[in-house]
């Protein structure tokens, strides 16, 4: 892999990030495992994920959110996804959100109420309030639950199926098609960046002088744009050549199995329990 030959930190982390992106987003590794979520029709999965999401977002009761979160973790486990990996992937989003929304809400300035802790920071007297704390907790739990549901949905569904499912929900075909192509281009661009990088390394050897490196990178970016522009034109020709005449005709071969309907029922029950009994 490219990043083993890299010798400086930034280089290593960029090539590492590219490889990670490729592996996590673009390979259907988890989607092709034989687990619970993978066995469900993508349309059903989209609908039921939406239901779980709504339940978690609309409730004011943290217990309900915790309940939905544990359900999603159980599903993760049953979908043969490593829980440690999953937690790492989902909790990374939390600090970002919390910093801006949840942390300020903790304090009396934003959420008045019974004081449970006092702080003195730079002469600023801050009091953590009980409603502030529970509000912040609720918020964090909601975020982590939503993120988990979305991540679970996306890593257990083949990209191509997600696109097809979108199409069935009356998202105009041309958008779905463009969306799919964008995805493909991003993939090709990532590959091109990687290959160009490898090509440069193999041509100039281990040590790339940084000035030289800059030039090479600028040049390859330019050629990349040109390439993708030309490719767009050619893809269009290829579509014409195969009879495309303005509005693409697409192929739907989804079939729901009894299991999909049972799944729908299960999720409805889970949501009702959450809303009614907790």
């Amino acid at each position: 892999m490219a990043f083993t030959i890299g010798n400086n930190f930034i280089e290593r982390s960029i090539t590492g990030a590219i490889a990670f992106l490729k592996e996590s987003v673009f390979t259907d590794e988890y989607a092709s495992r034989d687990g619970l979520m993978q066995s469900i029709d993508p349309r059903m999965k989209l609908v039921t994920s939406g239901m779980l999401l709504l339940t978690a977002l609309l409730t004011k009761n943290i217990a309900v959110v915790l309940y939905i979160y544990s359900v999603s973790l159980i599903f993760t486990y049953l979908s043969k996804i490593n829980i440690g990996f999953f937690l790492k992937r989902t909790w990374v989003f939390i600090p970002l959100f919390s910093l801006f929304i949840a942390v300020p809400a903790l304090f009396n300035i934003f959420t008045p109420g019974e004081a449970i802790a006092n702080f003195n920071i730079f002469g600023l007297h801050l009091i953590v309030t009980r409603p502030g704390l529970s509000g912040a907790l609720l918020f964090v739990m909601r975020v982590i639950t939503s993120v988990s549901i979305v991540v679970l949905l996306s890593i257990t569904t083949r990209h191509s199926e997600t696109l097809k499912a979108l199409r069935l929900f009356k998202v105009p075909q041309i958008f779905v098609m463009i969306f799919g192509m964008c995805y493909r281009y991003i993939y090709l661009l990532i590959e091109a960046v990687e290959n160009t990088y490898l090509a440069i390394r193999s041509r100039v050897g281990r040590q790339v002088h940084y000035k030289k490196g800059q030039q090479v990178v600028a040049w390859s970016m330019a050629s990349l744009w040109q390439r993708s522009y030309r490719m767009n034109e050619e893809v269009y020709s290829a579509m014409l050549s195969r009879g495309y005449a303005g509005e693409p005709v697409v192929f739907n071969d989804f079939k729901t199995k009894p299991w999909d309907w049972m799944w729908l029922l299960l999720i409805i029950i889970i949501c009702v329990i959450g809303v009614r009994f907790i």
């Binding site: 799919g180 050619e234 014409l240 050549s241 005449a245 005709v249």
Partner: protein, 271 residues
């Protein structure tokens, strides 16, 4: 007239008006022939094939297909263009541009769907092509994550599935292993024996003999220097050598190096 598929008269074409790609091309392609277009890199092969597929149109000169002059205007007529697309299939040189659907299966079915072909018949052809090209395991994969050779096979399947009368292939065997190359040659020969016209561009002189009865050689000035029966042209080593199509072979016999042109028409040579 009814036997002429394509006729080009004094065709010129340049990209963006400044990069010449075809110059004074005169060419007639008859029905049920197998035509190979050979020439060095950048000599205009792909440009010519794209023109035959009605994707680009000459700057000057005329292209006639199935007895009709073709240009932007004729293709604006939906029934003409649909009819043309059904009759002429094109395999691009770069399979990446030809494959743009989320899965291999959808990609193969793209053409028949656009052309509103009969569903049952399409399924039958799909099964046959999948069997011949060994694509069974790839159907649900994303086309862009396949190897170059696999992509090319998918691209070929996606063209053959509409069962076109004229099959145009731009370097169909580049990057394929010998076994797959063999399969593809066999498919093309079979299609030809059913009366299909097959037009191929290639650098691979090994396959020219098999996939053509007529060869057109492109010169470096974007002109066709010669068109003729394959047997004749493949024997014309000086011509081939002049256009980068034969390389000099060097090998060692008992310690002495021996050089001679790579002689393709007859596969044996004596030392």
């Amino acid at each position: 007239m009814s036997d002429t598929i394509f006729q080009l008269k004094d065709v010129n074409y340049s990209y963006l008006g400044k990069f010449p790609a075809l110059s004074h091309i005169d060419l007639t392609i008859e029905k049920a022939r197998m035509v190979a277009v050979i020439g060095a890199n950048g000599s205009g092969k792909s440009t010519l094939l794209q023109m035959l597929d009605g994707l680009i149109f000459p700057d000057s000169g005329t292209v006639t297909a199935f007895g009709t002059d073709i240009n932007e205007r004729t293709f604006a007529d939906l029934s003409f263009s649909r009819n043309f697309r059904r009759k002429v299939g094109f395999v691009f040189q770069n399979p990446d541009v030809q494959l743009f659907c989320p899965t291999v299966k959808e990609d193969i079915l793209f053409g028949p769907l656009q052309l509103k072909e009969d569903r049952a018949q399409t399924e039958k052809r799909l099964d046959r092509l999948v069997a011949i090209l060994g694509l069974g395991a790839l159907l649900d994969r994303s086309p862009h994550q396949l190897s170059v050779g696999e992509k090319r096979k998918v691209a070929i399947a996606s063209t053959l599935i509409i069962d076109p009368e004229v099959i145009i292939l731009d370097e169909p065997t580049a990057g394929l292993d010998p076994m797959t190359t063999r399969h593809i040659i066999d498919i093309l020969k079979k299609e030809n024996s059913l009366g299909k016209t097959v037009i191929t561009s290639t650098h691979d002189l090994h396959i020219v003999e098999e996939i053509s009865d007529m060869v057109c050689v492109f010169g470096n000035d974007k002109k066709i220097v010669r068109c003729g029966p394959s047997s004749e042209i493949l024997k014309d080593t000086p011509l081939l050598q002049a256009h980068n199509l034969v390389h000099i072979h060097a090998h060692r016999h008992d310690g002495s190096t021996h050089v001679h042109p790579h002689d393709h028409p007859s596969h044996e040579h004596s030392h």
